[in-house]
Symmetry: C2
Subunit: 354 residues, 2 copies
């Protein structure tokens, strides 16, 4: 495969010097783009897009045709893994993801097996390879997965949840059983991410979207420990190049010192903490990725530019910063506003790397 022409993302995630701050966006391939909506309408469903490597590749590349981003991220969904574990993923219109067979008892959790990635998730690794070929070294490709805790919330609740009723009851009543589920899921995710590396992914991100819903003493036990299990099992070098890993717990700012010890090269950070503070709290253990409030992209261009400048200044001088939103881009954001943000990062970040 082609050598990397733009390695800013890789270097920044490894806290190595760069000429300007690299920028990409969580959910950069998605609904805010009219060309995405068009392709999705043609495909008939979200899962048809994910499961067709040609279409997943095309969607992955769409934002890179519009914006001078420093990374591509595979278009897929975190719930591909529990689907491959046999839970029966489907989407209820207007309701989000659902599982036909949620896990509610010991029998269901005991019976769960770790999927053969080469067969049941082949559509994902095929898409990774296609994207790598299509990118031809322009920018690196990020592979990703959900954290075991975040995946388990869907697997136990059967879909999205506000109060995480069933999984929290499991956590408090039968913690060993939940740990069994989380450990199996961590093994499945480890195989899945390593398969993405083998197929061509050049950096990895683990999304812990719901870790912030846990109590302070439950978070390290039920979320962080299993992210660590994954990170311990990942291929960290490929063709002589280190594969950086980013771990992101939405709502985890209060626990940042502890999260910084998880073994990841970088942490995702949401907008509830300034990068000045975040950097002071994690020291040089990890790079940081973030953290513009996605809602700022609703604002006028001069406000977006000012807020980009603020985030860059909050991180300050030196390496170890990847510019991103603090969470996924909202579907109603005008693409022109993304252009303003990307341009501002390009124009305003070089001064922090002199």
């Amino acid at each position: 495969m082609s050598a990397l022409q733009n390695d800013r993302l890789i270097r920044a995630l490894l806290s190595q010097p760069v000429d300007r701050t690299p920028v990409w966006m969580m959910r950069q391939a998605g609904r805010y783009l009219p060309e995405y909506r068009e392709l999705r309408a043609q495909a008939g469903s979200f899962m048809n897009l994910c499961q067709n490597p040609e279409l997943a590749c095309e969607v992955t590349l769409q934002p890179l045709r519009r914006f001078d981003l420093d990374a591509a991220i595979l278009f897929s969904d975190i719930l591909t893994v529990p689907d491959a574990m046999g839970l029966g993923l489907y989407f209820e219109p207007g309701e989000g993801p659902r599982f036909e067979r949620p896990l509610r008892d010991a029998a269901a959790i005991n019976a769960l097996t770790i999927p053969d990635v080469d067969t049941s998730l082949r559509y994902v690794t095929d898409a990774v390879t296609k994207v790598r070929q299509a990118l031809a070294g322009r920018v690196p490709l990020i592979g990703f997965a959900g954290s075991p805790w975040t995946l388990a919330t869907y697997m136990v609740e059967g879909g999205s949840s506000k109060d995480f009723r069933h999984i929290k009851a499991l956590a408090y009543d039968q913690p060993a059983l939940l740990e069994q589920l989380l450990s199996k899921t961590a093994s499945a995710v480890t195989h899945y991410l390593n398969a993405q590396i083998e197929a061509g992914a050049q950096a990895l991100m683990i999304f812990d979207t719901w870790g912030g819903a846990l109590a302070h003493d439950a978070y390290p036990r039920f979320s962080l420990a299993f992210a660590e299990q994954i990170i311990d099992g990942l291929i960290r070098e490929r063709d002589g190049q280190r594969i950086p890993v980013v771990f992101f717990t939405k709502g985890g700012a209060v626990w940042l010192e502890r999260i910084a010890q998880c073994g990841a090269d970088a942490l995702g950070v949401d907008w509830t903490i300034s990068l000045t503070q975040a950097r002071a709290r994690v020291g040089d253990q990890v790079a940081l990725q973030g953290n513009l409030d996605p809602s700022i992209l609703y604002a006028e261009p001069h406000v977006i530019t000012r807020e980009v400048e603020r985030v860059l200044a909050e991180f300050g001088h030196g390496s170890g910063h990847v510019f991103n939103l603090g969470h996924g881009i909202h579907p109603q954001i005008p693409p022109e506003h993304v252009q303003v943000m990307v341009d501002a990062v390009h124009r305003l970040s070089a001064v922090w790397h002199e």
Copy 2:
């Protein structure tokens, strides 16, 4: 009105010594109680319950008949204030609260007036007086309101929101206009809370349910500043008795040092931080109220007891702790589990006050 026989709540909120830790629950009068569901079915709607002082009084007292709680909290809703400001509150079945006339432009915000509490919110103050009479000094009555930021999210979005799209666009594009709305709302809330004190409320709580959705630099500007405006304007003593004020920002643990300076006597704390840490971070500026994860009440009795013990131990010795959940009780919790929690606080807390 009758003298207070059980003043543990008042004393603990003022960081004065008590014999055991007082306990009450956010949303203790509500849907998890079958007698509440029965009364609500008879009343026809949630707002009929709120707006009828006899019914609101009855609902307020229901949990006190079952459990040996150390406080009553008025049964009402935070959205009574924007409703009185003319926005037209209604409830869409299964969809939560909605406003007929959300505020989306300068004309609507300029036209907004501060309601006359004595007429438009008389049903609330009448309920306060009735509850005080019915309690006959058994425990103190807590009055409450939403924070201006939290109320404004509903007023601008027109109902509940996931991404706070319209209000955040307002915050970034027209901050002075949003501040005008927040300041008017703060004035309305100040009058409202003072009227509750005049009617008999013996402690106050301000709920900032959505403050945690703000960016670190937006929170002090758009939420905390207007909570401070309210607190500055409150009657703090009545009949020689200090009226304690509790301020609670859900998701605010990361900003706790700053919040502790808001002028409140106590802070509500959610379950993302241990009370040991919270206490170390706020020092002796404020008492703390919290912070059991409400989901723990789904667990078995012995687990609930163990977790109550943990929360008490995390706060440790001395005064300044009111036991509570870290957020409102969920509607599906069995009332018997609440009994287990309340009994455990009674039984296990005395040792921390010796």
